[in-house]
Amino acid sequence: MRDGLGKVSILVWKDLLTEVRTKDLFGGMFIFAVLTIITFNFAFDLSGANRAASGAGAMWVAFNFAGFLGLGRSIALERDRGSLDGLLLCPVDRGTIFMGKFIGNLLFISLVEVISVPIFGALFNLNVFQPALFLVLLLGTVGFAAIGTLLAVMAASTRSREVMLPVLMFPILLPVVIASVRATTLILTDQTRDLAPWLNLLGAYDVLFLAISYLVFERVVEE
């Protein structure tokens, strides 16, 4: 990355400062995530072995949909006031702008997850304070934020962007969703010896799609 971490940190600083003042992204994402977890908690039969599998699914549904909400809003904020063009006018590599937005989105989604996971654990009566679970959350969220940041910029220039983002994202995101849910189920049912293939899949996906998103971002924002 030619422009280094300095410019990325300036972009992240700007997004964090804006978010601290408005709570536009965090507020919406957090409420959505918690409401989804509570709804599933009452909808599912949580007896016996079902609890971990249902819980893992509910948790990732909540985080993915909250993520869609946050990503769409994050890029819409840049598009609506033309400030994305303002960023593109800066003498920095387009990939740097992508990394700045990606890290900002990653931080916001991760913060929602870190605060929501204990609530999830309490409601589903599951032990969520396991390092492996936080590793899966991190790997799943990196992949989600990488491809989500790229596609949110693409969707933002379309008329029905709120609908377009999940439609564009879901097919590409499917490996992350499957791997994250399977890995989480294994952790919550204490079967961590079978975890490695899913972690490898998540890691490979993250590296691949982070690299692709970084490289093609310039084409996506080009007119």
Partner: protein, 251 residues
């Protein structure tokens, strides 16, 4: 190029110093969106210290030309060189030389005026960040509002801050797309002050406006775009406002 009906005043003063260092060179520039030609084979040179006003009806291609010069849009064919850098090959170097005011302010509502400028100063590697921010806020008449959020600013104040953002990194070329829109009398004075300040440092300005009188007053040279073609390129003092107005109204 049909110029005679509009050029009714004295010819250019041959004794006046004419800056001859080309800052911008546009060569056979064409832009098409799908099959529609928005810009058609534009050839143009802009020189150091020049203030050039770009006129044309809505849809004539003014904003597209400015966006290509700003590297926000790629030409379909032809080339643009700014300060020796080709826009399609060395876009980052070009961006460091260009300051843009567009229809939207490119500002963040929930940051203060100073924070907005600090963000852009860091993105542009402005060396004397703190003093430069205060200098620019003073120039645009917003020093008393430096710590107020942009959300609380009027349209005119936001436009002034957008102008400040554009000059913050001391660009060689200013691209102003209707910078006078939304400005009150104080804002218009600020704009003229900024244009003078920019020229005093040898900077070049290319701007669009729908206010002919303002354009002819502040511009040294006037360009007229019609359907993507450059049909007039003349010193502003040789042009009659009424004739120009009639020509624009006919489009």
């Amino acid at each position: 190029m049909n110029v005679s009906p509009l050029q009714q005043r004295a010819p250019v003063d041959a004794a006046a110093p004419i800056p001859r260092v080309p800052r911008v060179k546009i060569n056979r520039l064409t832009k098409r969106y799908e099959r529609r030609g928005v810009l058609r084979s534009i050839d143009l040179e802009l020189y150091d210290g020049e203030r050039v006003v770009l006129l044309g009806a809505n849809g004539a291609g003014k904003t597209t030309l400015l966006r290509i010069l700003a590297t926000l849009s790629r030409p379909t064919s032809g080339s643009v060189t700014i300060a020796g850098h080709l826009t399609h090959k060395d876009a980052q170097a070009v961006r460091a030389q260009v300051g843009v005011v567009a229809h939207q302010p490119y500002l963040y509502d929930d940051l203060t005026a100073a924070e907005n400028l600090r963000f852009f100063a860091r993105m542009y590697d402005v060396a004397d960040e703190r003093s430069r921010i205060d200098e620019v806020l003073f120039l645009v008449g917003l020093i008393a509002r430096r710590d107020d959020r942009v959300r609380t600013f009027s349209r005119g104040m936001q436009q002034r801050l957008a102008i400040g953002r554009a000059i913050l990194h001391r660009p060689a070329l200013l691209l102003f797309d209707e910078p006078d829109s939304g400005l009150d009398r104080e804002g218009a004075r600020v704009l003229e002050r900024i244009l003078g300040y920019h020229r005093s440092g040898g900077g070049t300005t290319l701007m669009t406006t729908h206010d002919l009188r303002f354009g002819l007053t502040v511009g040294d040279r006037v360009l007229l775009l019609e359907n993507g073609k450059l049909v007039l390129d003349a010193p502003s003092h040789t042009l009659e406002e009424n004739a120009l107005d009639e020509r624009l109204a006919r489009r």
